[in-house]
């Protein structure tokens, strides 16, 4: 882990609000594992000041991908990057998913939560049976769903709240009634979604790996800005996570 210099290789506009940046940075592309993240910021600029945590969504050669939606000034600036733009890249950060340990893994994403799961899918699909379930709000996410199918290389079962894309409903409907002993879930999305998934399998939430997201300043475990309550006490999402077992997290305290 450290601060490295990265250079934007390509910018892909997936929809009006969603972008994929491909960033050249060997320190990340050679070391990042699925589930880990980077902090991105602009060099020599103090406003916006702090790096933004984004999951590594894939590796190609010396570059890695991140995906994001424009939600504020920093993501707007990132969306306006052009190839060649320098960025400061901190990482790779956090505990990765690790190797899949079950026969079959359900990858469950809420909107942009697909980022770490695409990377996991691409890294382990030769050795592992995956079922990819994605939840999105409405029809404005159509091009995102198409893009995801293209880059993940697997069939994605889509659920949308307006029923326009895939099936009507949410990701819970794409999951089995019971989680068999040789099955596990890797999930990334809103806390509400993650909590509902863990709530569906109360006895088996130790076989659910969730990727959490919190406001962060340092990303290396120093500032204690991103702590959550777990059954083992306060834990830092940046270094003790972002991957936690569903059974560890105090969902009411989030």
């Amino acid at each position: 882990m450290g601060d490295f210099s990265g250079r934007v290789r390509s910018v892909r506009k997936i929809s009006e609000e969603i972008f994929c940046l491909e960033i050249d940075c060997e320190e990340i592309s050679e070391n990042a594992q699925p589930g880990q993240f980077v902090m991105l910021r602009f060099p020599e600029i103090s406003d916006p000041l702090l790096g933004r945590p984004l999951a590594v969504a894939g590796i190609s050669g010396s570059a890695f991908d991140v995906i994001f939606r424009i939600v504020g000034r920093m993501t707007k600036m990132l969306s306006e990057c052009t190839p060649g733009q320098s960025l400061v890249v901190r990482g790779p950060e956090g505990r990765p998913f690790g190797e899949p340990s079950a026969k079959k893994t359900f990858l469950v994403a809420g909107t942009l939560g697909a980022a770490p799961l695409i990377y996991a899918c691409k890294s382990f699909s030769k050795q592992q049976e995956f079922e990819f379930v994605l939840g999105v709000p409405d029809r404005t996410w159509a091009s995102y769903c198409e893009w995801l199918t293209e880059v993940s290389g697997v069939a994605i079962e889509v659920f949308s709240e307006d029923g326009f894309l895939g099936q009507n409903g949410n990701v819970l409907q794409g999951l089995p009634e019971r989680l068999e002993k040789d099955e596990e879930i890797w999930a990334c999305g809103s806390e509400k979604m993650l909590s509902a998934i863990c709530g569906k399998y109360p006895k088996d939430s130790d076989r659910i790996l969730v990727s959490l997201e919190k406001r962060m300043a340092c990303g290396y475990g120093g500032c204690m800005g991103c702590v959550i309550d777990t059954v083992y006490g306060k834990k830092r999402v940046c270094v003790d996570g972002p991957i936690f077992r569903g059974s560890e997290v105090c969902w009411n305290g989030l």
Binding site: G2, D47, L49, L50, R90, G222, C223, G225, V239
Partner: protein, 310 residues
């Protein structure tokens, strides 16, 4: 020819540092991998996160909020307490070559005595204590120790009566008159002053129509506060004779040089590490370039030179 290594050498009392750049309390964790020398290049010493008598779980709700060229934090001194520090973290720190400065926060005289008595028993393994007087003193109705000279004198005097080693006192910019507080701390036995801590600020989430932080106020740091911190250092250096360590928004070699020219002996930098882990090394290199360009031999040669006009 002066060896390069000696040019930035900085000494405060018995504490010798290879560089004037100290990592401020609150940004460096105890995790072993963060103490390997690669990451700490250019760093003279590291202040630990605050240690209190009893464990503290810290504040609920949002703890961080970015502001223009700065950030607000409301972490609430989350730490596992002094007993845990001695058991779980001190052994690791003792293996690190770089000196560390143990930041201590206390809510009462009893706490100061209790924490520092525990530390005094292992004083040979603790190079220096930095007493944070920005926190509320419950014995005084929650008034910050460092807001009035009487409170500062009480805190520092109590600490001094128990802790015999090097004692730095980290002042609060919420003080009514910072120079007065500095003099009180010096007279009560402080070996050096750190000026200063975060500025109290707040923000309001206009969508939810309520303050961002559950405790309403939070501490402002980052480049935005640098001119405020420099003014505090300037005022203090006119009033005290012990070393002053400049802290607040120091991000670049230029900022560090300005602090030294105002009279500071060293600087502490916190938020700069959050944004750039290489900043201590960049600051050191920038200072060396400056010294070369102006034909100064040592950093200490420029200490206070901006005060000629004063």
């Amino acid at each position: 020819m002066v060896s390069k290594a000696d040019r930035l050498k900085t000494t405060i009392g018995d504490l010798c540092m290879a560089s004037p750049v100290i990592i401020a309390s609150g940004v460096w964790p105890y995790d072993e991998k963060m103490w390997n020398s690669d990451l700490l290049e250019g760093v003279g010493a590291v202040c630990t996160k605050a240690v209190t008598t009893r464990p503290r779980i810290g504040n609920p709700g949002i703890r961080l909020w970015e502001t223009p060229s700065g950030m607000l934090n409301s972490i609430g001194l989350q730490n596992t307490g002094v007993e845990s520090f001695l058991r779980d973290y001190l052994p690791g720190l003792s293996n690190v070559e770089l000196p560390f400065i143990l930041n201590v926060a206390a809510e009462s005289e009893e706490d100061i005595i209790s924490t520092l008595s525990s530390l005094e028993q292992v004083s040979d393994r603790i190079p220096c204590v930095e007493l944070n007087i920005s926190c509320p003193n419950v014995d005084d109705g929650g008034m910050l120790w460092g807001k009035l000279p009487e409170g500062a004198e009480k805190a520092v005097g109590t600490a001094r009566s128990v802790w015999k080693g090097p004692l730095w006192v980290k002042l609060t910019p919420q003080a009514f008159d910072i120079a007065e507080i500095g003099v009180a701390a010096q007279e009560a036995g402080a070996d050096a002053l750190v000026a200063s801590n975060t500025w109290l600020g707040m923000d309001i989430d206009i969508i939810r129509s309520e303050p961002v932080f559950q405790r309403t106020f939070a501490g402002l740091s980052g480049p935005a506060v640098f001119p405020l911190a420099l003014r505090v250092v300037w005022e203090l250096c006119s009033a005290v004779s012990i070393p002053v360590i400049g802290c607040g928004g120091v991000t670049s070699a230029r900022d560090c040089l300005a602090m030294i020219m105002a009279g500071a002996t060293a600087v502490e930098t916190g938020t700069a590490l959050l944004t750039d882990l290489n900043s201590p090394l960049k600051i050191c290199r920038g200072i060396e370039e400056f010294l070369d360009s102006r034909s100064f031999e040592f950093l200490k040669d420029i200490r206070g030179i901006a005060r000629k006009r004063a």
